[in-house]
Structures are given as C-alpha cells and as structure tokens.
C-alpha cells in the first residue's frame, strides 16, 4: 500500500497558502502549512512523520526561502528532500542554481505546480520501490 504523500507549504501570504492547501487536499495530498521559513524549519525538525516535499516561497519574514533551503541541504536527514520554490525574478533563480530545487514562477499556473509536485512524488517513490 502506498502512503499519501505529505507536503509542507511555507508561504507568508495567507491567501496563497490557504488556496494551495485547499487545492492540494482536493488532489488527495496530505498538507501542512507554515507561515514563514522559521515556522517551516521548526516543523521539519519536529517529531513524527517528515514531509515528502517542501513547497516554499523565497521572500518571507523571519527566515527567507534561501536560508531555509540552505539549512535543509546541510541537514543530515533532510538534505535529499524534494523542494519546489516559488520565484518571481531571475536573480532568485540564479542564486538557487545549485540548490536542486524545482522553480515555479509566480504567478504560476496551477497545472504547472501540480505537474512539478507529481514529478517530485514519483521521484521520491523510486528508492522505496527499489528496496521492495
């Protein structure tokens, strides 16, 4: 039996956070939300099941997406986590060139986001299948 993928959304804009959560729940994903990078980092380090995928904005208060991604990539248990980041400018893309993230440009089309999520979840399942 395959488990439902869990997605963590880090986005400071409440309307986007709520809408994306709503849509992803409709699509059958399990969703957690965080109001900024710091909140996301605390959730990633909390006890219990870790999310399979992080969707994060870059411009956020307290801790921005750059720092959050850097911490994830330097963390022993989280460094291979799939990350999709919302970007709005080319500068952001070039700064995250080596971060192994999928970039989705705002304002994005929902199908584009769903396609990116699907490809991440398929890739995440590969190692598990090989172990069986």
């Amino acid at each position: 039996m395959t488990r439902t993928p869990m997605i963590l959304i880090a986005e400071d804009e409440q309307s986007i956070r709520d809408c994306v959560r709503e849509v992803l729940e409709m699509e059958g994903y399990e969703v957690q939300t965080a109001v900024d990078g710091m909140d996301a980092w605390q959730r990633l380090n909390a006890q219990g099941r870790k999310p399979d995928l992080l969707i994060t904005d870059i411009m956020m208060p307290n801790m921005d997406g750059y720092e959050l991604i850097e911490r994830i990539r330097n963390h022993v248990d989280l460094k291979y986590m799939s990350v999709i980041c919302f970007t709005a400018t080319r500068n952001i893309r070039s700064r995250l060139a080596d971060s192994q993230c999928i970039h989705v440009t705002k304002p994005f089309d929902l199908d584009e986001l769903l396609g990116a999520i699907e490809s991440c979840c398929v890739n995440n399942n590969k190692p598990n299948k090989e172990l069986l």
Partner: protein, 117 residues
C-alpha cells in the same frame, strides 16, 4: 510626460518598491488560485464550504493589501515631509548666513556685499 529611465530604475530597485511588487504578484496569484478553486467540480455542501472560505480569503487578502499600501504611502509621506524639512532648514541656514554676512559687511563698511543678496 517623458519617462526618465535612470529615475525609473532607481525607484524600481528600491527594496520597498521591490517588496510592493512581490506583494502585487502575490495578490494576482491568490486571485488566480481562487478562480481555479471555484471552477473545480464539487458537491453542494463542499461548494458552500469552499465559497465561504474563499470569500473570507478574498476579504483578508484585500484588507491586508490595503493596509500594506496605506502603511507604505504613510511611510513615503513621512519621508517626503522629512526631506522637505531638511531642505527647508538648509535654505533657512543659507539665508541666515547671507544676512549675517551682509550685516557684518555693512558694519565693516563693505556695502558692496549687499549686492550679492
């Protein structure tokens, strides 16, 4: 009115203008997502639930954006007032300096300085 590209670039690269641009993109993004959300097929109970939530989201988003813009405009206004005050003080100091110089000139009998006023 002719655009000044240098000034336009200077204004556009200000961090607060950049943040404002991101905020506007976020609003556009939220509107797009809400529109997609409402177009999804769902049962009547779910539809009412989602619509209610979407209305709340829209109200919150509009309120937040308005508040944000108001705060920004107030900050710009304060900045302009501060800049104008600084300029006014500089002009006043300059005028005072000229007056003092002329007075001093008169006292010393150098009346030709008055012509510079």
């Amino acid at each position: 009115m002719r655009r000044n590209p240098e000034l336009a670039h200077k204004i556009a690269s200000r961090p607060d203008i950049e943040r404002l641009r991101h905020k506007a993109i976020d609003m556009l993004q939220a509107a797009q997502l809400i529109s997609v959300l409402l177009s999804k097929p769902m049962d009547a109970v779910k539809e009412i639930e989602v619509e209610e939530r979407v209305i709340d989201m829209l109200e919150d988003a509009t309120y937040n954006f308005r508040t944000y813009l108001r705060e920004k405009l107030k900050a710009y206004e304060d900045e302009l007032i501060r800049e104008n005050t600084d300029q006014r003080e500089t002009i006043d100091r300059g005028n005072k300096l000229i007056e003092d110089t002329v007075k001093l000139g008169k006292q010393r009998g150098l009346s030709h300085l008055e012509g510079r006023r």
